[in-house]
């Protein structure tokens, strides 16, 4: 309880510290001169607009074009009041109207103060580097100036995030890494705008705003459609779970384990996203299998077994019809994705093998209609025993490493939810959709 009562006080203290520093910085900057009011008002309005149309990214960070007016004001004003103007223009970016409507004045104050400090820091770097009056020099000077802006921005923001959430700084730094080249286009555009304003007047300012607003509008349509796509995938997952209650959570867990493996293997973000979609859809063919077969506690007849296995070919066909999943469509079939079934497995995309391992692990560590969950140790043992034949050895080790590092335990005794059975499933046996041919390998030996 003591922790929760000191945290707000620490937050307020930190906020006051940053605000005072911002006021001092503004006072010092004002000694270099005061900006021309018309120019300042135009760029301030642009900053306000840039923040108003900023986009919230799925990871919670915000993308905005604030650097355009900040850098623009540096170039237009030269040395006459650029430091104060840049600081104030940036600081105005903290006035985010939705925050005001919600009455979050503390948040607005903090953002204004930290952005003002970032802007003044950027102005200092810009005037140190940007001596001279050629376009090339000014454009180049925006690069270290923009970097200074971002470094100060992150350095001031992260302590507040730590105080507000109690989570370690390392996580935020990884998300908010200022060493991203992506600020460069905004900084350079700002310099170009400033130069053009200098030559032709403020009338050109709206023409820079238009493509940015169009890009923003399009990007939010993209985010909305991405949500809709996720929603459609959830429809599939939900339908699967209604049909086969024993696999409740199975698809989501396979997606999670696949992500663990993908992270261990250092897959790029685009491949991680594709892996996730494929993992969520790998069982889609089960939707066409009769309910009573999926939930049958007894052995299947050969005809029934063929019928159940048919879902794999349906899944493969279905995934193959989605362009960006086509290269990894065979993930849906453990038969196709057996590691030793293909001589050139090393050069194949690794995603199908990732999903097969994740699928098998979850099948073994969760209770099914025909078998209780196995302990984690047995599951690891089984995975290792079939590594190099049925499973890709790299994926097996990656999964085990990832789970051990996270200290996650699944399987007998650690199941997510307690399932009530009419007749308890048998304790032994490994046959399942994910391990179907593992069982058959066992009997043939």
């Amino acid at each position: 309880m003591a922790g929760t009562s000191t945290t707000p006080r620490m937050q307020r203290l930190y906020l006051a510290l940053v605000a005072v520093a911002a006021a001092v910085a503004a006072a010092v900057a004002a000694r270099d001169g005061v900006p021309a009011p018309g120019v300042f008002a135009t760029f301030a309005a642009l900053a306000l607009g840039a923040e108003l149309v900023s986009v919230r990214l799925p990871n919670g960070a915000t993308a905005s074009a604030l650097l355009v007016p900040v850098m623009g004001s540096f170039v237009v004003l030269g040395h006459e009041g650029a430091a104060l103007a840049g600081g104030l223009v940036a600081g105005i970016g903290g006035i985010y109207l939705p925050d005001l409507r919600r009455g979050r004045f503390d948040r607005v104050l903090f953002n204004c103060a930290q952005l003002l400090l970032s802007g003044v820091a950027a102005a200092a770097v810009f005037s140190a580097v940007g001596q001279g009056d050629t376009l090339g020099r000014l454009v180049l000077a925006t690069l270290p100036a923009g970097m200074a802006f971002l470094v100060v921005n992150v350095a001031l923001l992260v302590p507040m995030l730590v105080l507000a959430t109690g989570r370690p700084a390392r996580g935020f730094l990884a998300d908010l890494n200022p060493i991203h080249v992506q600020y460069v286009p905004f900084a350079v555009t700002g310099a170009a705008l400033g130069w053009l304003v200098h030559g032709t007047g403020l009338v050109v300012v709206p023409f820079v705003a238009v493509p940015v607003v169009v890009a923003r509008h399009t990007f939010s349509s993209y985010l909305a459609l991405k949500n809709a796509h996720e929603g459609t995938l959830r429809v599939l997952v939900r339908a699967l779970e209604t049909k086969d209650p024993y696999t409740a959570g199975h698809v989501e867990r396979v997606a999670r384990y696949s992500r663990y493996i993908g992270e261990e293997l250092g897959l790029s973000e685009v491949r991680q996203e594709r892996l996730r979609y494929a993992a969520l859809m790998h069982d889609v063919g089960k939707l066409v299998v009769a309910n009573h077969l999926l939930n049958k506690p007894d052995l299947l007849t050969p005809a029934e077994y063929d019928e159940v296995r048919r879902h794999e070919s349906v899944s493969v066909e279905v995934l193959g019809r989605i362009d960006f999943l086509r290269p990894i469509a065979k993930a849906a079939s453990p038969l196709y994705a057996r590691y030793d079934s293909r001589p050139d497995a090393r050069s194949d995309p690794i995603e199908p093998y990732v999903i097969v391992v994740a699928d098998a692990y979850d099948a073994m560590t969760s209770t099914r209609a025909y078998r209780r969950a196995l302990p984690q140790e047995i599951a690891f043992e089984e995975l290792r025993r079939h590594a190099g034949t049925q499973f890709h050895p790299v994926c097996v080790e990656a999964l085990i490493r990832a789970l051990e590092r996270r200290d996650e335990r699944h399987g007998a005794g650690y199941e997510d939810e307690i399932v009530l059975f009419d007749s308890p499933p048998p304790v032994r046996g490994t046959g399942s959709a994910g391990l179907g041919d593992l069982a058959s390998t066992d009997t043939s030996r």
């Binding site: 952005l115 376009l135 991203h180 890009a215 399009t218 459609l225 939707l287 066909e317």
Partner: protein, 406 residues
């Protein structure tokens, strides 16, 4: 909390390879043009060559639109071109760059490629004419003169694009989201043209303006690429979902696709908007997907109402599918049912879907059975099928030359 450095361009995102290709194409063209200018031309013509390079590069920088077509960024470099050159030079540059870009044109437009060359030439000359006319009419100097003239040139260029699309029988420019893309291009073009204005000594940017003011345009193009990629994936996921009842053997192969096509045709004739047509298409594709959650042992006997309810229950929670879910849920209702919870358009869409599905069930895609099917639909009891929808269907079949009865 906000953070300002976290821009949408993240490494490895879908769409990024395309952006990289765009940047490479534009930069390569700029370098080639600069080198060529340095080697071949006297000093005064350097800028013209760089502009020509930009005109060519713009043909490769295409904005994908909602209807699957693309809008090359040709309006942006056209503005500095018409502002600084005479009609003959404009024509020569446009024709030369179009011929160079012909392989790309051919890939995108096929047999319509020659038409597009003509359209570009006409558009460029019309824009040049608009620019000169406005300059002549306004008669002043400096930015005050140039801005209205550039605006007129951009407007005329967009008009020729709209006309060209209409001639080619494509979806209206606005419905495909073309005006936003054209606006972004025109704004960047104005900046590029102003950067090349001769009467701002000391602060003139010259051809660097072309590169610098292409940056916001590339940003917009990137967003369009991302949107296109996700739109494609989403549409395909819907189609995949719609195919599940076929795989399970609950409906005839191709049933959802044929119903969707018929729905679109009826809906368009009954004046539904583009958004309503999109919702109707999704509802039609997915209208029988509920079969998979019913017990398949009795799937064939499940009545239509039960399938509609199961489908609606499946879709209703999903973002983006709630309106299609509403349409499917309303299908079992008689067309005169006083259902107040639904918007009028959803009810109309549901009646269209019901008629299209029943017609497709009765004919199995074989129009020779159209007359019998229509007869059966007309004589169905209890206000089941909306006669306005049936009338529209009859007119559509009639236009196709399908015999629709006595």
């Amino acid at each position: 909390m906000k953070l300002l450095d976290y821009l949408p361009l993240r490494p490895g995102d879908p769409g990024e390879p395309r952006l990289r290709a765009d940047v490479v194409a534009v930069v390569t063209m700029a370098v080639v043009a600069a080198v060529a200018a340095r080697l071949v031309l006297p000093a005064s013509d350097h800028e013209l060559v760089v502009i020509a390079g930009a005109v060519f590069a713009a043909e490769l920088l295409t904005f994908p639109l909602a209807d699957g077509t693309a809008l090359p960024a040709w309006i942006a470099p056209l503005l500095p071109l018409v502002a600084g050159a005479d009609a003959g030079t404009v024509a020569a540059v446009v024709v030369a760059t179009q011929l160079l870009a012909l392989p790309v044109l051919w890939r995108d437009a096929g047999r319509a490629a020659p038409l597009r060359v003509v359209q570009r030439l006409a558009g460029a000359l019309a824009a040049w004419g608009a620019y000169r006319l406005t300059v002549h009419a306004v008669g002043a100097g400096g930015v005050a003169l140039t801005l209205p003239a550039l605006g007129a040139a951009a407007a005329v260029a967009v008009l020729t694009e709209v006309a060209g699309r209409r001639l080619a029988g494509l979806r209206p420019f606005g419905a495909a989201g073309g005006y936003e893309a054209a606006l972004a291009q025109a704004s960047s073009g104005v900046l590029m043209a102003l950067a090349l204005l001769p009467d701002t000594p000391g602060t003139r940017m010259g051809v660097w303006g072309l590169a610098l003011f292409a940056i916001p345009l590339l940003g917009a193009r990137y967003a369009y690429g991302r949107l296109q990629a996700i739109r494609h994936a989403y549409d395909q996921t819907i189609v995949v979902l719609s195919g599940l009842p076929e795989h399970g053997g609950y409906v005839r192969p191709g049933h959802p696709a044929r119903v969707a096509a018929l729905c679109i045709e009826i809906g368009r004739r009954m004046g539904l908007s583009a958004t309503e047509l999109d919702d109707l298409e999704r509802a039609a594709l997915l209208h029988s997907v509920g079969y998979v959650t019913l017990d398949p042992a009795r799937g064939e006997e499940a009545d239509g109402g039960e399938v509609s309810r199961a489908t609606a229950a499946m879709l209703v929670g999903a973002e983006g599918l709630s309106r299609p879910a509403g349409i499917v849920a309303a299908v079992p209702l008689p067309y005169r049912a006083p259902e107040v919870s639904l918007a009028r358009q959803e009810r109309v869409a549901a009646q269209i879907l019901k008629v299209a599905s029943a017609y497709e069930d009765a004919t199995g895609g074989d129009d020779r059975r159209a007359a019998d099917a229509l007869e059966a639909l007309y004589s169905a009891p209890g206000y089941l099928y909306d006669p306005r929808v049936l009338g529209t269907l009859e007119r559509i079949l009639d236009r196709r030359g399908v015999p629709v009865g006595a």
